[in-house]
Amino acid sequence: MSGGNRVRGGVGVPVPKKDAPALLTGKPVYVEDIAPRDCLCVKLMHSPHAHAVIEEIDVSRAQKMPGVACILTHQDVPGTRFTQAGQTYPEFSPYDRLILDRHLRCVGDPVAIVAAQTERQALAAMRLIRVRYRVLPAILDAAQAMDNETLIHPEADWRALVPDCGADNRRNLVAAGEDAHGDVEAELAACDVVIDRTYETGANQQCMMETFRAFTRMDAYGRLEVVSSTQVPFHVRRILATALEIPKSRVRIVKPRIGGGFGAKQTAVCEQYPAIVTLKTGLPAKIVYTRGESMTLSSPRHAMRMHVRLGAMRDGTIRAIDLHTLSNTGAYGEHGPTTVGLSGHKSIPLYTHNMKAFRFSWHTVYTNTMSAGAYRGYGATQGLFAVESAVNELAHALDMDPARLRERNIVREGEVMPAYYGETAASCTVDRCMARAREMIGWEEKYPARTLPNGHVRAVGMALAMQGSGISNVDTGAVLIRLGDGGVYNMSIGATDMGTGCDTILAQMAAQSLECPVDNITVHGVDTDTSPYDCGSYASSTTYVTGMAVVKTCEQLREKIVRVGAKLLGCAPEDALFEGDGVRRADGSAGVSLAEIANAHMMAGTEDISACVSSGSPVSPPPFMCGCAEIDLDPQTGEVKLVDYAAVVDCGTVINPNLAMRQTEGGLMQGIGMALYERPQMDHLGRTVSNSFLQYKIPTRVDAQRIRVEFAPSYEPTGPFGAKSIGECVINTPAPAIADAVYNACGVRVRSLPITPEKLLLGEREA
């Protein structure tokens, strides 16, 4: 970039997050902190049954309780079905929900909405609601769902907006399909070795520290204002308008600071409940999910069962991969049709180099379990656990170092990836990621395992990962930048910072483009009334998609500033140069400062100095990474301690090294949790028993103390400053890497997560 010396805190600089001072002094900036004090408290009564129909519901006694403002049942809500999934047109999610339904499809499904002046009063009233249920047979096992005689969505008004995704409510199917290239059966038949295995992952919880919450009120214009902890404000507007049967023009969504999302808040899990209360009563209302609710009626990862057939020649050439994924969407379709695709499309392409054929087929089914949603990795995490584990198993079958095996087969920069929609890997340093990660962990000395004097076994394992950067031809981000008086830039974005720091990194890109200090760019939270459209922060889209919109907006703004500056200087725009702090004549004879330009156009102004450009991408360039785990196994108890994790990431250009590093470390830790500690469990009646931080253990700071991250940047030609995404890719390697390290330590192959001491101690040794 030119003018680098005027830039402060531009691209590549670890500037602190713009909201850090407020967050770190405990200022009231989150939803609950800014909710009006007189808000009604909204509580949900939950279904005790996995599958039932409400025969009768009596709220008469409850309604008379002190403080109660309203109690709503299925008789009180609009009859239009909708989806809670925050997705862009065309919506793959079936419209299969009502705000309250007579038909209850999982334990926790809302039976009634109670709004009272205080939480105490709401809960007291709820205890007096009498419900008679007709209990129906429940389908809890995804393998039993398809074509089961029990139908989870028999309703006539069930509607799939994209019918060719294979959705069929008469078969409990939300999606089915196949993508193939070449003759996979013939290739597998010709292979020397075929690894044929089934892997399973569970419905992991995102566990953002701030649970789901929102408050609603009527504004001065008689419109519904919703302040929500969401990743997708614009989608929430559409979802609420549909669910409440009101025009979108009557809904406004505001996103303040939010306490983490990781995909959970890409689903409008809770907004409709206070919204309908406010519409019915005209009073402000708020809902704050308990942790228990957040873990039983939320939007966890899709549990998947993946059958992999991986074919290779004796020399380690991988020729064919056949993957079938059975995904459990739970009670509602939501993200079911889309997540499943990533299990194959973001795992198989890693092995493009010698691949002759692949087949990826899938089914996503309804069951009577909690509805699944979006969780960082979005299906890729599950698929990569299966494919990367299979590759590690292949290495053992061939008696080959898994690193060498991968070197032979991984995708190279410039290669076309048939399993990735035919896209070309225009930027890819996965080879360098692997080489460096091996060096960092000491692979050569440590692979596969060694026994310590205390009897513990130290072992290493590795895995690769990829993801996308936004959804090609779908995701859109727009950025609006205005030049204000005195020469300050106000940047409006619709992308939602959920703690990731996107407000800051997008400002860094703007500072770089506008050749100014990052402090001269102001940003704020999202407001659907004033922010330009952005599909939201998900699918690893913000840095890449919205970032590109920043670049394009800044280009346009520079041109405008030069035009106004040239006018003030009395020269043609072609003879003037943008220099960050002002505009000068190309011959150097005169200049005018940015402040003067800004102020001049505000006096009887004729031209608004602002720009707003929208950006999308025809491609979704994958970030890549390699993770190497070193574990310590106590062979007498089966306890595993992760002693070291080395990861090297290719996310293209690193915009903010600190924040990219935190994203990576945080994602790795979640992946480590999924691998070793987090155990989603349900009882035989479909009740989630891992419903708290007591029973669902996320990693603490004592569990994994050493995580080391480096970058091996490529340059993505279609990305802003060469950047790709980072947020999701980083969660994918720990499970397969740790599973192989564990196998190297004790010979037990864990194909169903998590890896528990029990499985290692009592499991069958395969080596």
Partner: protein
């Protein structure tokens, strides 16, 4: 019933229910830094000081605080600024929701063990969950904060 406590150095009298927690009381008194992240004493988000000791405000009966001194991050803004700079310098706060509870426990650690090693820092802060950061940067930031305290007069 009424309780009178010293909140961030000021005497406050407030009406509480018998089964209110200190957390509920503090939020009602406008102490917005105090967050709640679970119902099972596991997350550490609601950590405040009672008579100088870090406690989970979700588990202390509000009524028990009568006559005691309670401190929240609102009452430690100077210290918060210093520790905050160490955390922000690493980008270690991420979403920031767990930060006030973490910081209150770091202040307790600083008092109890100002020369804590990295392992001691981790052990002391084990009850402060964070889902964003992956913890390693927080450890570095806390270490730097403790070291900066040493050179303070």
């Amino acid at each position: 019933m009424n309780v009178t406590l010293t909140l961030n150095g000021r005497q406050v009298t407030a009406a509480v229910e018998a089964d209110d927690s200190l957390y509920t009381l503090l939020r009602a008194l406008g102490m917005h830094s105090v967050k709640c992240g679970c119902e099972t004493t596991n997350c550490g988000l609601c950590t405040v000081h009672m008579d100088g000791k870090a406690v989970l405000s979700c588990s202390v009966p509000a009524a028990r605080c009568d006559g005691h001194a309670v401190t929240t991050l609102e009452g430690m803004q100077e210290e918060a600024k210093r520790l905050g700079e160490c955390l922000a310098g690493e980008g270690a706060e991420q979403c920031g929701f767990c930060a006030p509870g973490l910081m209150m426990n770091v202040f307790a650690l600083a008092k109890e063990n100002p020369h804590a090693t990295e392992a001691e820092i981790d052990a002391y802060l084990a009850g402060n969950l964070c889902r964003c950061s992956g913890y390693v940067s927080q450890r570095r930031a806390v270490k730097r904060y403790l070291e900066s305290m040493e050179v303070q007069p």
